[in-house]
Amino acid sequence: MTAQSAASRGFMRCEICGRLSRLDGGRNCARCGHALHARKPQSLQRTSALLAAAGMLYFPANLLPIVHVRTATSDDANTIMGGVVALWSSGSWPLALLVSFASIFVPAFKLLILTWLVMSIRFGWQSHPHERTTLYRAVEFIGRWSMLDVFVVALLVALVQLQGLATITAGSAAIAFAAVVILTMYAARSFDPRVLWDALESNARRAQGT
């Protein structure tokens, strides 16, 4: 069975309720009232712009301190990487792996994969649509979990307020880091995975000579 896209057969799917409508039927879904689009509008431009913004903020997020720990005798500024090293050297290596995965690996993975997906569409690649769809699904699924470090910082800041002994305050990397997570989540959401399959279909049509 050869696959045909709904768009090529003159239908579009409502992204909210799933109902199929005719391309010439009207601007809004007859059932739930949502605006209909065969493909997400300007998805490549939006995704590229959000990715560029997130990529720029990725550097301050990792280079600036995310927490300041002040005790009676010292004032330490910790970056994300420094926090991972501290967890590792204190013996809790499973958590060190978890935090480095959520805070360092996942944001970088999201930026690289989405950039590669956008490029694959721009250059009209047709190979491996399944694998590219799986990568997109992975980015969409794990993207939210990067927010982990922001919550850890929020809890540390709220708990460690021992006057005279130790206080923890949030560093400026927390702002950049939260912004990276939000921007990459929007970038993933504005990307339209159906476009990954469109090149395949137009090529098949060309091959048939119709």
């Binding site: 069975m1 696959a3 045909q4 896209s5 057969r9 239908f11 799917r13 992204e15 909210i16 309720c17 799933g18 109902r19 199929l20 879904c29 059932r31 739930c32 009232g33 949502h34 501290a86 967890l87 204190s90 809790s92 958590l95 978890l98 935090v99 649509p129 399944h130 769809t133 997109y136 699904r137 993207g143 939210r144 979990w145 927010m147 982990l148 470090d149 922001v150 919550f151 850890v152 910082v153 929020a154 809890l155 540390l156 800041v157 709220a158 708990l159 460690v160 307020q161 021992l162 002994l165 130790a166 949030a170 927390a174 702002i175 939000i182 989540m185 995975p193 159906r194 990954l196 399959w197």
Partner: protein, 211 residues
Amino acid sequence: MSSDSTAANVETAPRFLVACPMCDALQRVDAEAGAVAQRCFRCGTVVRHRSNRGTDHALALTVAAAICLIVGNVFPVVAMEANGNTTSTTLVGASLALHLQGMNFVAAVVFLTTFVIPVIEIACVTCLLVLARGRHLERPTGVLLRLRDRLRPWNMIEIFVLGAFVAIVKLGDLARIIFGAGMWSLLAFTFFYAMALGAFDRDVLWQEPNS
């Protein structure tokens, strides 16, 4: 030829034909299938998911999750004891502490993703299920479904719970850490809410079912 038969089927039996949300492949699904997830033949994405648990079952789980969310916000999430001093924080307290340090953007992100959005989302799901039990009003159902779709990725309670575990281990050397009642309630919330969404059958929202 095939295009004519496809078009004819949409006119007569729209419930049989769906488009994959991931790859847009047009395909038929079994309208009478029970509680099985039907997958796209091309990319494997679930194109139709039904549950035979019933709307009341999903509604009961949603209400249970809502109660856990309220309890989780009233009681402290974690408490810390060091040198005879005890400090504790609630969910809202964590974003308040950030706000007091001038970290307003981060405070707002934490406040929205762990309090405001979960509350609105669970209210949306409750209203949707109540509407589905009653008169199937299409416009309010559409509005609520759209709002919920926007909010869904920003409900981050389960990530906050994991973050609390990490924070506790980080502070483990420094002080004695106690899990509060709020923490267990939030953990229960994530389980109840996941079960409620598993039992939530989208077809009951509409009188004319179509994935």
